[in-house]
């Protein structure tokens, strides 16, 4: 009974605090769930099934998962009014420049904005990789939801050559070198 009371005491007094609950209690009105830069890497044998997706880009063209099969793909979920997304944009662009010619694909997924707003953002930060506009139908968000879901804004996912999510960064990329290392690891994996 004492043990029960103790467990209950913890449960009721809410001693178990985590960042998700803390964000809610803060009531900042920032209107998105932030991440703390946590990196999750999944070993090859534990990865879930390849993700199939199709989305409409800012340019009006369609991007599908088939376009990126056999290549490493970096997917970044963002929107223009999200402060950490703005802060990490230069790092992402730098990584894109570094790996563009090594066959790595970069795809932004804009989860809130309309096309023109997204395009202005890209101009501000000189982003040259494409972004899909996902606010109206949520197709890409749905495709990537699952076990290793994008659970914060921004979220950066590394998709391996077989189309499986191999790593995830929740929240702003704290250091470009982290993303660099994750891409490198994915690139070094054999194609088999």
């Amino acid at each position: 009974m004492f043990a029960l009371a103790l467990v209950l005491a913890f449960a009721v007094s809410g001693c178990v605090s985590d960042s998700l609950a803390a964000q809610y209690r803060e009531g900042s009105g920032k209107n998105y769930i932030a991440g703390d830069g946590t990196v999750t890497e999944i070993t090859a044998e534990n990865r879930a099934a390849p993700v199939d997706f199709s989305g409409t880009l800012e340019s009006g063209e369609t991007a599908t998962s088939a376009d990126y099969r056999g290549r490493v793909l970096v997917v970044n979920f963002w929107y223009a009014g999200c402060a950490p997304c703005r802060a990490e944009a230069p790092d992402l662009q730098a990584m894109w420049k570094k790996y563009e010619n090594l066959g790595v694909g970069f795809l932004g997924v804009n989860i809130r904005d309309r096309t023109d707003t997204a395009r202005s953002f890209s101009e501000t930060f000189g982003i040259t990789y494409p972004s899909a506009i996902d606010a109206d139908n949520g197709a890409l968000q749905l495709a990537f939801s699952g076990v290793i879901a994008p659970n914060a804004v921004p979220t950066t996912l590394i998709v391996d050559k077989k189309g499986r999510v191999s790593a995830r960064i929740l929240g702003r990329i704290s250091d470009a070198s982290i993303l660099d290392a994750l891409i490198k690891t994915a690139l070094e994996e054999s194609d088999q």
């Binding site: 009721v12 007094s13 402060a83």
Partner: protein, 565 residues
Amino acid sequence: MNDRVGPTVSRPYDHHDSRVAASGDRITEPPLDFIGWLRWFWRQLTSMRTALLLLLLLAMAAVPGSLVPQRTADPNGVTQYFADNPDLASALDKVQAFDVYSSVWFSAIYLLLFVSLIGCVIPRTRHHLRALRAKPPKTPARLGRLAGFTTRDAPAGTDAAAAIDSARSLLRFGGYRVALFESGSEVSISAERGFLRESGNLLFHLALIGILIVGGFGSGFGFSGQRVLVEGQTFVNTLLAYDSFKPGRFFDEERLDPYTLALDSFDVEYETLNLKAYGQPVDYTAGVTVAVQGKTARTDEVKVNAPLRVAGTDVFLLGNGYAPTITVRDPKGNIAFTDSVPFLPQDANLTSLGVVKVPDGLAQQLGLTGFFYPTQAKAQSGAYFSSFPDLEYPMLTLNVYAGGLGLDAGVPASVYALNTDKMTQLTGGDTGTKSLELKPGQTQELPNGLGTVTFENADSGATDGDFSGSVLRFASFDVNNDPAQGWVLLFSVLALLGLLTSLFVPRRRIWVKAIRRENGSVCLEYAGLARGDDPALEAAVFTLAKRHNAVLAPTPPSTQTTEPI
């Protein structure tokens, strides 16, 4: 009636006769050691009086929770409270007034009540189980002192044992547990019924504990998330897409089942016939399309108090309002920003307040704060207000600020507030420039040649003067998952059933005694004993006597004496 043998209040209903305590000349109070005090404390805690007091305290302790906003329910309200009353708020925060239901003092009462209940129920259950197995007590020697005492002469030739046997089957049929006793010339039967009363009572208490447990723990596995959707937008059930999210204590991110929910339309019906309630909303309907991963999409509706059930979550409609579509262009005409921005309603006629942040595409970052009036009217003072909540004569007024929005450093900011510390006001207020005023479809120049701002007409094909579809609406949804819901219902039903049983099942004892007289005739005695309130006891004894006699002799006996007591 039964002042000598009636149960005392503090005893359980089924307290079976216990041994008489060894008689002492006077009460001695032994000195209490540590264990003794602990025992004393335990007795106090588990007493009914304490439980009731704790229940009352719990109710009182919950009151502050409805007087000030709670972080768990209304975090923005708490932020606002701190802004409005900084001194009072910090004092209140010290006594956990913004977290009443998880505060130390509330938890203390809750836990004590919990322990008190358990400490009360366990011994009572043990006691009840023992009482269930116990035989009905021995027939009292003199039934004449008991309730409903009735004597009858058995019909001539009746055998005492046979008479008691037929009484036994009658009582058994009536749901009594019976025991036979024989002493000398007397054969008697002792019968007892109504154990269900205490069973119901215990069920009620156990169900209460159940409610406390599933309420405290079960809800910890659930979550609730909020999201504002403008007509045409889609929400995906992932943390990525929520505006705010309240996890239970044991929430696991993998528990979110992916599905999409698109807000296709939002319809509001306003009262226009009854002038006393003119403009009151009559009905809100959110037309949605739901698609669970791997299944075909379906269209459905969400209404106030009629949530949509999808993939284990309940989607509630919380609020709604207007989301004017605003486009900002640079001087060359390129679109820097376009979106439907939710404006928060400020009054019943939906005068709405909103903030538009334009971070990219212009020479400077731009912030617009403004009011939206669905049906604009002008007060004598010259101030605008809305006179009707529907789109009769919509108007958007905007104050323009230029400078740093404070977003680029990665520090989050509220979307419903504009931090103007590093911005310059360009229109409205003391600037000498009038605020921008826009009707749907109109465009105005921004000051300082920054560009233009357009209030888009969402219904571009509408005729002149018809604004009914000119502004999109938004709806705010609460996606809620509470796995404890079903359990709470189950325990509530059990508690109610237990309570009803314990209220309506009478608990009583009845005795029938057959006395062989020397002349060979048999005298029958009947009496009952109420255990608790039992107004129907005497009637029950009389009925038994009547039916018993009818069984013994098909024709009514010629002589009978009845002595009602």
